[in-house]
């Protein structure tokens, strides 16, 4: 891929409450904003459970892995700009910004809530010169 190329999107059709509950166990994250919409309302954060940040970031990683199946992620910088909520449809995307001398791709990446705001913006460096997993 060359600078300006658009990476294939990764779409999550509906963020699942069951997945959020399961992930809270794996992450050992007791924050009730992921599990209890009453707690979300009490904090003035809306009226639906809020997805975990690592899940949102992972949608971008999944998009990158599909775009560079033989590559390896070398750096990932993400700014979480807004919330993703249960039942949201989200789209992870990106573009190639530059190609280093060693072939490493610098990409702009993002996660958008369909019909809503950008939830994550950032950059990724992907080494496409090695055939390792990831």
């Amino acid at each position: 891929m060359r600078p300006g190329d658009v990476l294939p999107e990764h779409v999550v059709e509906s963020v699942s409450a069951a997945a959020m509950a399961g992930l809270a166990v794996v992450l050992r994250d007791p924050n009730p904003i992921h599990l209890d919409r009453t707690a979300v309302r009490a904090l003035g954060l809306g009226d639906r459970e809020i997805n975990q940040g690592p899940a949102n970031g992972s949608y971008i990683v999944t998009m990158l892995r599909a775009a560079f199946p033989a590559g390896r992620l070398r750096a990932l910088e993400l700014r979480l700009l807004g919330n993703v909520r249960v039942e949201d449809r989200v789209i992870a995307g990106g573009t190639v910004l530059a190609v280093d001398d060693d072939g490493t791709r610098l990409c702009e990446v993002w996660l958008d809530v369909d019909g809503g705001a950008r939830a994550i913006a950032g950059t990724a460096r992907v080494d496409v010169g090695v055939g390792v997993r990831g």
């Binding site: 924050n31 990932l76 993400l78 700014r79 979480l80 990831g134």
Partner: protein, 133 residues
């Protein structure tokens, strides 16, 4: 410095994480490891709840959030079910204000020996200061 420790990513946790985020269970587990560390400082001698408490935040009631991450994967892929030394430090805490009032950005850096490192920005709401204003 935060208390150092040992981090191990089990194959079960890697698969479960991938399943819940729709990821690839055969993908590089290093990224999974960093997400677990981001979530609760796993492996360090202090949990995220205790760290937040030191900064006046109740993890279960105050609604702290993840603000950003900067991950660097400079070493070989992490091996599953193998212990790695892990170290961490609080870099700084900065007061800011936004649409919902005052908050602090707490930056923490965690390193997995010879594998990867992550700088994490946590958003700590300061509703008490809003009420006092």
């Amino acid at each position: 410095m935060l208390p150092a420790g040992t981090f191990t990513l089990s194959a079960d946790d890697h698969r479960a994480f991938a399943r819940h985020v729709g990821g690839d269970p055969d993908g590089d587990p290093t990224v999974t490891a960093l997400w677990l560390i981001v979530s609760d400082l796993r492996g360090l001698g202090i949990g995220l709840g205790e760290l937040f408490a030191r900064h006046g935040i109740d993890l279960a009631h105050d609604g702290p959030m993840l603000g950003g991450v900067a991950m660097a994967f400079d070493g070989p892929p992490l091996a599953l079910d193998r212990p790695y030394p892990i170290t961490g430090e609080v870099l700084d805490r900065t007061r800011k204000s936004g649409r919902r009032g005052a908050f602090d950005v707490l930056r923490v850096r965690v390193a997995l020996a010879d594998v990867a490192a992550v700088t994490i920005s946590y958003i700590l709401p300061r509703r008490d200061e809003e009420a006092a204003a």
